[in-house]
């Protein structure tokens, strides 16, 4: 059979959402950021809310998220995305407002902003990419870096007495009265991608119901920062991160 006989509309099983621009992704091969971008783009298309969605990108590898998703974007200072989102949603309550943040951005420099936005119950969506490392600056220790994990600033592995403990910020967020939905997901295989998509869709829907903040953590890989190839990175994540950061819903109301 010729390839032309196969490429026919009736045979189509999958298409790229037009919400994802044609720009070439700058992410390393195997990086979770691209997969999560695609999920968000598909949800915005499926919900038909392109003209009502405002994204807020962080400082971190995903600073350029605005190059890929065809919606209006604000680029925040390091850690401050939840403050931007707070004002944006309060001033334009008919808009879907989401922040997209890494672990350094959300759980280190921006801890105050995320805690207080969630505690106020801002009607926003927070997408939290936890790759246990500072990807953008070259693989330094993140607040979520595991004990023993080697990074550029923990060359002998993270030690509690020297570096403190990995921060389970999502567990803290789940305690806050202002949050309505707090979940931890991953995107290393099709089943996980489907679950994450369901979670993010629910988060977007929640944000119009005045229920409070929806928070979706995605335990992610950073093969460049971890210095292992993509397939091995997935395995390392499953074996080391999932036991410490167990997947599933922490709160849904």
């Amino acid at each position: 059979m010729d390839i032309k006989d196969i490429i026919k509309p009736e045979n189509k099983v999958y298409g790229k959402t037009p919400l994802l621009k044609d720009a070439i992704l700058h992410y390393c091969p195997g990086c979770s950021h691209g997969t999560v971008h695609k999920i968000i783009a598909e949800i915005i298309e499926e919900m038909g809310i392109q003209d009502r969605t405002i994204g807020i990108s962080p400082v971190g590898c995903s600073v350029f998220a605005y190059n890929y998703l065809d919606i209006d974007w604000q680029q925040a200072a390091h850690g401050r995305a939840p403050a931007l989102a707070t004002a944006t949603k309060r001033l334009m309550p008919d808009k879907y407002v989401f922040t997209y943040q890494g672990d350094g951005d959300l759980a280190s420099i921006g801890t105050a902003e995320i805690m207080h936005a969630c505690n106020r119950g801002e009607n926003i969506v927070v997408i939290f990419i936890n790759n246990a490392i500072y990807g953008m600056t070259g693989g330094q220790m993140a607040p979520t870096t595991l004990l023993g994990q080697v990074t550029a600033t923990t060359p002998y592995g993270r030690q509690a007495d020297l570096n403190g403990y990995p921060l389970k910020i999502t567990e803290l967020i789940a305690q806050l009265e202002g949050t309505c939905y707090v979940t931890r997901q991953s995107v290393q295989n099709p089943a996980a991608v489907r679950k994450t998509k369901k979670a993010i869709r629910k988060a977007f829907e929640n944000s119009m119901m005045k229920k409070g903040t929806s928070f979706v953590e995605v335990v992610s890989t950073c093969n460049s920062g971890w210095k292992i190839p993509p397939v091995q990175a997935n395995k390392w994540m499953e074996e080391n991160m999932f036991p410490f950061y167990p997947l599933g819903d922490m709160k849904d109301r």
Binding site: T53, D72, Q75, A76, A77, A83, L84, T86, L91, E113
Partner: protein, 359 residues
């Protein structure tokens, strides 16, 4: 006749915000300006004009809320005092770098550090030269009365939107706390969504519609040549502001042989110094810069040929004097008198210091 009400300068900021159609205020308490947010909370403008008022968790957060609101083409503002403004400087640099309009009010207190809660003008350098990182400028208005505090809110927003640049009202503890009669201005309604669309759709994040490309607000440029081109564009804008927006007032400068330059509360006190000098037959005049950026360079320059001396009077160790010296460029002696740490001099004290400089 328009209604006049007795109020503090800080309260005037709050009433002016509601009156001129401000969309959102985000702040964090700090003396001597807490009355701004307290007044807004008491007035509940969200029930009347729909204005959002929110107490943030820090000044860092306040200014980033302002950033978010400004991205949406809204008229948004914050107020604070010196230590809080220092925390905001990162955000103000981002606002300038992203070319966003907003209004920031600084009711200055004595520093450095936690300093005092008494009035000061110690943030002149910080405010007029930038404050945060990078080559940027704020539009800076210096109020000398509660009426100015009221009027500069609307003016600040007008200028901020005209140039898509942060505007700062640089007041001090005297102006913020002093009660004076304030004449209320005709109310302006908040802009409708349609008006914002018309005015800001080319850049604001108000939802990407089919008829336009997506808008991105960012201050990031990875390539040096792109950043340089942008910086040159910013400098052009600042030059335009310098050409069009200088504001100042003069008092008895026509025949003046000596000149005091003072801004804010000090310009009020120095009017009395002019009177004290004139009683003794000394031809002293006063120039009050109303905009500190752009600075009234041409006005001072034009006076230099008739002058024997200039004195800069400030509530700091001598900051504005550097700008005056650049204008004078050695043609006339430029002297200084200042008090610091929250101390405010009397007209007699300044006069005595002035006399010493000309003898």
């Amino acid at each position: 006749m328009a209604e006049k009400i007795l109020m503090k300068g800080n309260e005037a900021i709050a009433y002016a915000a509601i009156n001129c159609g401000c969309d959102g205020y985000f702040g964090y308490p700090i003396t001597p300006q807490s009355e701004v947010m307290e007044t807004l909370m008491k007035e509940k403008p969200w029930e009347t004009t729909g204005m959002v008022v929110l107490q943030a968790e820090s000044e860092t957060s306040s200014i980033n809320m302002v950033y978010g609101g400004a991205c949406c083409g809204k008229k948004v503002m914050t107020s604070s005092s010196s230590p809080g403004i220092s925390l905001m400087c990162e955000g103000i640099s981002y606002l300038a770098g992203a070319e966003l309009p907003c209004l920031v009010v600084n009711v200055m207190r004595g520093g450095p550090g936690l300093g005092t809660i008494q009035p000061s003008q110690g943030d002149y350098f910080q405010t007029t030269k930038g404050g945060g990182h990078g080559d940027y400028r704020n539009i800076v208005l210096a109020p000398a009365s509660a009426q100015d505090m009221y009027d500069f809110v609307d003016l600040g927003f007008e200028l901020a939107f005209k140039y898509r640049n942060p505007a700062i009202i640089l007041g001090d503890g005297v102006i913020g706390q002093m009660m004076e009669k304030v004449e209320l201005r005709p109310a302006k309604a908040r802009r409708t969504d349609e008006e914002i669309k018309k005015l800001c759709a080319s850049w604001a994040t108000i939802g990407k519609t089919a008829d336009r490309k997506a808008n991105t607000i960012t201050s990031l440029a990875l390539e040096a040549d792109v950043q340089e081109r942008f910086n040159i564009k910013l400098q052009k804008k600042y030059a335009e502001i310098e050409a069009n927006e200088v504001r100042y007032s003069t008092y008895k400068t026509e025949d003046a042989e000596h000149l005091i330059v003072a801004f804010g509360c000090m310009s009020r006190i120095c009017e009395n110094v002019v009177e004290l000098a004139r009683e003794q037959g000394i031809k002293l005049g006063l120039l009050r810069p109303i905009t500190l950026f752009p600075y009234p360079k041409a006005a001072i320059d034009a006076l230099v040929p008739q002058l024997k001396s200039i004195m800069s009077v400030e509530l700091n160790a001598g900051q504005m004097i550097e700008d005056i010296r650049l204008i004078s460029n050695g043609r006339v002696p430029v002297n200084f008198y200042g008090r610091q740490g929250g101390m405010v001099p009397s007209p007699e004290e300044i006069f005595e210091a002035f006399i010493k400089t000309i003898k």
